[in-house]
């Protein structure tokens, strides 16, 4: 298969989009590097405090008119954006692959998920409806209306450069707020393309802003008194130590989504043939860099024959994964985002070995399809003999690794899931409804999979998460996002 054409040509400067203008940052300029080729594909500025302040000012100025724009009209802007996203579907997808490294199938999947959030937000006239009660006392009526709040900050991670800001932004602006998006400076091109389409869709200046950069921008958002709330997706330490406490200190509402170390429980009665591809996607898709990726595979029961056969099939499937350039349509796994992240994963592999796990498949020296440097590439790695006290169970690796564990029965497997510090997307594979229901009922997990390896909620459901994977009350996506981005105002009236 031929390698698809790269959409980013030359080395463009990724600019900020502030108040409807494209502005080059005055901050330090850094390279955006394609992890497959290790070539610089763009440059981006690390924006200054003045630049984030300018974006807040633009968003604040745009807010009064935008909130007065009727929801049906705001929805029409989103409908136009949705059409433009469809028209640019392939280019958007290839940009993600070029800047992040994921396969083209994965990028198209990400694009689709992003568009679905815009589609759901198009329903804002209905989603934003309040409640009313007649005669709460004789002649007195009471009703609730939802009102926007102002400017929101949206802080995106590197692993889904296009989709994740769309878990928040469409709902925020649909509800009448204005937004400032800070993409990861490692992958800024996807959000730049999205902002181009926002501009083309005709959104008023200042409603949708993008400020590239790093900590200065994040701090500027967290400290700014005119930012009403923050949505964040990133690591658990940043969520716990920076985002959540700082939002609390400055009185901001917050949705903070952190990391994970998800457990996939295998019952001996599972449909093995259908389960194996699900496991490949779950553990090794996106090179393991997603907060819903499987990290721990818990095989239930003392049937050694089943265990050995299942592990053998999983290992054989993992060995066959084609690693390379995601723009080659035959590739099943791309690189990790950069050399530093690769090293971090390699360190975890070392830690796993030191703590007593054994390697069934070593992905540290992968076979790469095509002539590319191995700087950011890893192959699938499979550990056996992993136990719940090991670091590779308790910490998020965020790479293409699978730690195989054993549990004597379903109760013990659920206990292992619940003892894990993270509770984002645990799953069970079984043909038995009773096991499935028990798992769903007892497991502590924001998203629960039953014969699903990646428990990614559709846009009309909240992207849940619990304990070490989430801080806040409401979640991104769907109706919960609308509640987050609006204030409930209760009115009680009577007429004399």
């Amino acid at each position: 298969m031929a390698v698809l054409e790269e959409p980013i040509k030359g080395v463009p400067m990724v600019k900020n989009y502030i108040g409807g203008e494209w502005v080059e940052s005055k901050g330090e300029i850094i390279d955006v590097v394609n992890p497959v080729t290790c070539e610089t594909i763009a440059k981006v500025g690390i924006s200054t405090k003045e630049e984030i302040d300018a974006a807040v000012k633009a968003a604040q100025e745009a807010y009064p008119d935008w909130r007065r724009t009727p929801p049906v009209t705001r929805a029409r802007y989103l409908f136009r954006l949705r059409e433009l996203l469809e028209e640019n579907f392939e280019e958007i997808s290839r940009i993600q692959t070029q800047e992040h490294g994921k396969t083209i199938d994965e990028s198209r999947g990400e694009t689709r998920r992003g568009i679905e959030n815009v589609e759901v937000a198009c329903g804002i006239p209905t989603l934003m409806m309040g409640d009313s009660s007649e005669d709460v006392a004789s002649g007195i009526d009471e009703y609730l209306i939802r009102q926007p709040l102002g400017v929101f900050g949206i802080i995106g991670p590197f692993n889904f450069p296009f989709m994740i800001p769309l878990w928040s932004a469409p709902y925020a602006v649909a509800a009448g707020n204005t937004v400032i998006i800070k993409p990861s400076s490692e992958v800024p091109n996807s959000q730049a393309k999205l902002a181009e389409l926002v501009e083309e869709a005709g959104f008023p200046p200042g409603v949708w802003n993008v400020v590239n950069g790093g900590r200065t921008v994040v701090n500027g958002m967290l400290d700014h008194p005119q930012i009403e709330g923050i949505t964040f997706v990133g690591s658990t330490p940043t969520m716990e130590n920076v985002i959540y406490p700082r939002c609390g200190a400055t009185g901001k509402r917050v949705i903070a989504q952190g990391g994970a170390s998800n457990c996939l429980v295998i019952m001996p009665d599972c449909n093995v043939k259908a389960t194996i591809p699900s496991l490949m996607t779950s553990f090794f898709g996106n090179a393991g860099q997603r907060c819903l990726a499987g990290q721990n595979l818990i095989i239930v029961g003392d049937d050694n024959k089943f265990y050995n056969s299942f592990v053998e099939q999983v290992t054989e499937a993992a060995k066959k994964i084609r690693v390379g350039n995601g723009l080659d349509e035959s590739i099943q796994m791309g690189p990790v985002r950069d050399a530093e992240k690769k090293q971090r994963i390699m360190n975890y592999i070392e830690i796993g070995l030191k703590e007593g796990a054994t390697l069934r498949l070593d992905g540290r020296k992968p076979k790469i399809e095509g002539d590319y440097p191995d700087t950011c590439f890893l192959g699938p790695t499979i550990f056996e003999n992993v136990t719940p006290d090991m670091t590779i169970f308790k910490e998020e690796i965020f790479g293409p690794t699978m730690g195989i564990m054993r549990a004597k029965d379903l109760d013990e497997a659920i206990q292992m899931c619940n003892d894990n510090p993270f509770h984002n997307g645990h799953a069970i594979f079984t043909s038995n409804g009773k096991y499935a229901r028990k798992f769903q009922y007892e497991v502590i997990s924001g998203n629960v999979g039953i014969n699903i390896g990646i428990v990614a909620p559709m846009a009309f459901y909240p992207f849940s998460g619990m304990k070490g994977s989430f801080m806040g009350v409401l979640h991104t996506q769907g109706k919960e996002a609308i509640r987050f981005f609006t204030e409930s105002k209760v009115c009680i009236q009577r007429w004399f």
């Binding site: 994965e106 999947g109 689709r112 996607t281 349509e329």
Partner: protein
Amino acid sequence: MKLQTASETISFIKELEEKAATFYEELAKRYPEKAGDFLSFAKENRKYIKQVQMAYQSVITDAIEGCYAFNLESDEFSFDTNLPENATLAEAAQKALQIEGKIINCYSIGVEQSGALLADVPRNFKIVVKKRNNRLDRLKSFTGR
């Protein structure tokens, strides 16, 4: 060549359909008495391309096993469209039936392999196979058998 990802499978199917469409357009020129039928087949093929592409782009999400959904051997479904210059309509129709057989086989095996994984894509493959059966009857009638 093995086709494993949804992306390369959809690209391959587009190639097959387009190649067959071009073949039918050629037949329309050679056999004007059946030009209407052959041109309608070509048009249908291009509609199938759009249908399958739409199904793929609608259903592919980050939760779907897109990179592991298939295991097709492309050589099994490849075909040539060469026809001798003096081929009769019956011979041309026989050739078309062979081509249709290859394409139907590709879709059918694709359904078996991805049925549990890709939801709407195999469902659309089935629809295309079902619609093609009418075409097979028509082509058979051209062979005079």
